[in-house]
């Protein structure tokens, strides 16, 4: 058995060598593009997956062919791999995922099926035929933070966040930076629920924020619960993933949303034409290129909405949300004046900025 192990190790090394040499050639798709999508939750989850499904339907209209999907494939390799292989056996040559927990399985699949293109929103792995994509949600949440800062009377904002790591922390920090652009005295109280999808904890967190006296609640979780609580309490909220006006029409002032067709349509076209080159460290899409805002609710004054849209244009033209100086809660300078953080620093953001009330752990 141990000799067998050595053989496997040797085979892995050889495979790695092949992968390295294959990297030099551009990816060529065999035949017409035939995408299929693997969803990690049900298609009508009200948030992340539903945003993907809505994009899929718009893409079908644009492309003129059907894109099959499979819903609720959990983030374990023993479920993801067979689902993808079933599609590949049926001649699908572009497999699209939907979760960071798909990253390892997609990496293995991409190595095993070099003639198939793999795309994975929220993934972390990349390769010659594999692209992970995530939105610079700090940009969209920054814009929502501007709305929140402008419509808040007390200057006290709240935020319900999922899990305390980089790409959630950046939305919390950007939200306050946006709010302070409109109201320099704004402060933000954040509560982490420790789960992506836990409406019970989200409700408890949102209610705690209401009792603390905030009058706008922002969020980065998978359900519309924080906006629903805001509506019940007669205050305002900003949503994430999808336009939350559907669930809380009176409270939702703005939503940071996914518009995946903005990214997928041009990408599918470039895959078909042979000009696709996956970014080796992942594609981080800007506002307008896959992530965007749904702005604004009736409670937002017209001049505020105009300012927000002008800022959106500025970001598209290259303005960075985290332009220094950025100082964390302990007073330590994290980004020097005039500097901007690298993508690696953003991804690993493990601090909250000064003015945020709340703790990471």
């Amino acid at each position: 058995m141990w000799r067998k192990l050595c053989c496997v190790a040797a085979a892995a090394l050889i495979a790695a060598g092949f992968a390295a040499s294959a990297e030099a050639e551009a990816f060529k798709l065999k035949g017409d593009p035939k995408p299929a999508w693997i969803y990690f939750n049900v298609k009508n989850d009200g948030g992340w997956t539903q945003a993907i499904d809505e994009a899929r339907i718009r893409m079908e209209k644009d492309l003129g062919y059907k894109i099959p999907f499979v819903e609720k494939v959990p983030e374990v390799a023993s479920e993801i791999t067979p689902a993808a292989e079933r599609y590949i056996e049926r001649g699908h040559n572009i497999i699209i995922g939907s979760a960071f927990g798909y990253s390892d399985a997609f990496k293995d699949l991409a190595a095993r099926y070099p003639e198939v293109a793999f795309l994975n929103p929220a993934g972390t792995t990349n390769g010659p035929n594999l692209q992970s994509i995530y939105g610079r949600t700090y940009e969209t949440q920054y814009l929502c933070g501007m709305v929140a800062g402008a419509i808040s009377k007390s200057g006290k904002l709240g935020f319900v966040a999922a899990n305390p790591f980089g790409l959630v922390n950046w939305t919390v920090n950007a939200y306050l930076i946006g709010a302070r652009k409109m109201n320099p005295k704004a402060e933000l109280t954040v509560i982490y629920t420790g789960a992506w999808n836990d409406p019970v904890k989200e409700r408890a967190a949102a209610q705690a924020l209401v009792e603390k006296g905030v009058d706008v609640i922002g969020q980065h979780v998978d359900t519309p619960t924080p906006q629903v609580v805001a509506q019940e309490a007669g205050i305002f909220g900003t949503g994430h993933h999808r336009d939350m006006r559907e669930f809380a029409p009176k409270a939702t002032a703005c939503s940071s949303i996914w518009v995946w067709d903005q990214y997928m349509l041009p990408t599918l076209k470039s895959i078909a034409s042979g000009s696709w080159e996956p970014a080796p460290y992942g594609a981080f899409v800007h506002v307008g290129g896959g992530a965007d805002i749904a702005c604004c609710g009736d409670m937002v004054p017209k001049d505020v909405a105009e300012k927000v849209m002008a800022e959106r244009d500025a970001i598209i033209k290259g303005k960075h949300v985290f332009e220094g100086p950025i100082v964390d809660q302990s007073g330590k300078e994290r980004v020097a004046a005039g500097a901007t953080p690298s993508d690696g620093d953003l991804w690993g953001m493990d601090y909250l900025i000064q003015g945020v009330v709340g703790q990471l752990n």
Partner: protein, 362 residues
């Protein structure tokens, strides 16, 4: 006699069967399976799936095509171990609901060995297996002691221990074991030497050897060893066992610990053969699947192997349904539940005989 009076003089009687021949039992289970599958086919046809494609894509693909069969085997391997885990505890009427927690602790053990590179590389995998079994067993010990010493309900304590294990996993993946590479909440990937190698046919890996060995060991333990006979006694009649002087507490506690160890081994297989790291999602569902498998198999090791493979087949067929027809997840869950429920219900007909009884008078 008019029809009405015939109805009055007849009723359905329920009789306990004194003896159930194995062939009889098998026939009832098969009959129930067919009824369940017929209901499922009716539902699928109602959703617009053709009869021919139901056979082609679900039955033929899942059980006769190489890629399908290999997927079923890979799916079933941890299910066999989870089923054995449940059956070991259920034999002595110890309701171990905390299999998922013990499975998680098994993964923690394996990951601990992998992260700290314990021992020489040539026996790393064996050490990971041992660590997984030991931690899984250790996690089953406190509820077992509480049960034996203080008569605390193991249904509650094992369930709560599962939650503790889950939050400990979250603590590790958001804390000390967070992947330093991508900063995501899972442990770093195991090295190549820390993964179960493939056996060289399709996707099947050496986990199948672990599972088959476990079936053999458990078979010997429960069918051939002194412990097996004693534990059967305890399971059938605990008071009598106590009266004749069997160490009932020790037998219940050691069964519970063995069950935990087996759950740890299931965790080892999932971690080293498919996931290659500790993730918070990896244990979901194995506890309840294990319970259903043990129940359907009547806690018998070889039957556990077969039932686990059928359950694996049901999962794979369900996944194919979702893939090929974009059927909603809820419908697939419904179909799987119908099949399992019909087979479970057959147990009623195995135990009881329905008879039309006539009586005169009135």
């Amino acid at each position: 006699m008019t029809r009405r009076s015939w109805l009055r003089s007849t009723r359905l009687a329920l009789e306990v069967r004194q003896r159930i021949p194995p062939l009889h039992r098998a026939a009832f289970i098969l009959g129930a399976l067919i009824v369940g599958l017929a209901i499922c086919v009716a539902i699928l046809v109602g959703r617009g799936v053709g009869l021919a494609s139901i056979y082609e894509e679900f039955i033929a693909f899942t059980f006769f095509k190489a890629s399908g069969v290999s997927t079923v085997i890979v799916q079933s391997t941890p299910l066999v171990l989870a089923g054995l885990s449940a059956s070991l505890a259920f034999r002595v009427n110890y309701w171990n609901i905390g299999i998922e927690g013990q499975l998680f602790m098994g993964v923690i053990g394996a990951t601990l060995v992998a992260i700290f590179d314990v021992g020489p590389e040539s026996i790393r995998l064996v050490l990971m297996l041992v660590a997984a079994i030991v931690l899984g067993a250790a996690w089953a010990l406190p509820p077992a002691l509480l049960k034996v010493r203080l008569n605390v309900s193991e249904v509650i304590s094992t369930l709560l221990f599962s939650y503790i294990a889950f939050y400990f996993v979250l603590n590790q993946v958001y804390g000390p074991w967070q992947d330093p590479k991508d900063k995501f909440p899972h442990s770093e990937q195991y090295d190549a030497i820390e993964r179960l190698p493939p056996i060289g046919w399709e996707q099947v890996h050496y986990g199948i050897v672990v599972a088959l060995a476990a079936v053999a060991v458990v078979w010997w333990l429960v069918e051939r060893s002194r412990f097996g006979i004693q534990s059967r006694f305890v399971g059938t009649s605990p008071r009598m066992a106590l009266a004749i002087g069997l160490p009932v507490g020790a037998i219940v506690a050691s069964s519970a610990v063995l069950s935990g160890g087996m759950a740890g081994a299931a965790g080892f297989v999932i971690a080293t053969a498919t996931e290659f790291r500790l993730t918070p999602a990896m244990a979901a569902g194995y506890g309840f699947s294990g319970i259903v498998i043990a129940f359907l198999a009547g806690n018998r090791p070889f039957a556990t192997l077969i039932v686990a493979c059928l359950m694996g087949g049901l999962y794979v067929a369900g996944e194919s349904m979702k893939v090929f027809y974009s059927l909603p997840d809820a419908l697939v869950g419904l179909i799987q539940a119908i099949v399992v429920l019909s087979v479970t219900a057959s147990e009623f007909f195995v135990r009881y005989r329905l008879r039309l009884a006539h009586y005169r008078g009135a």
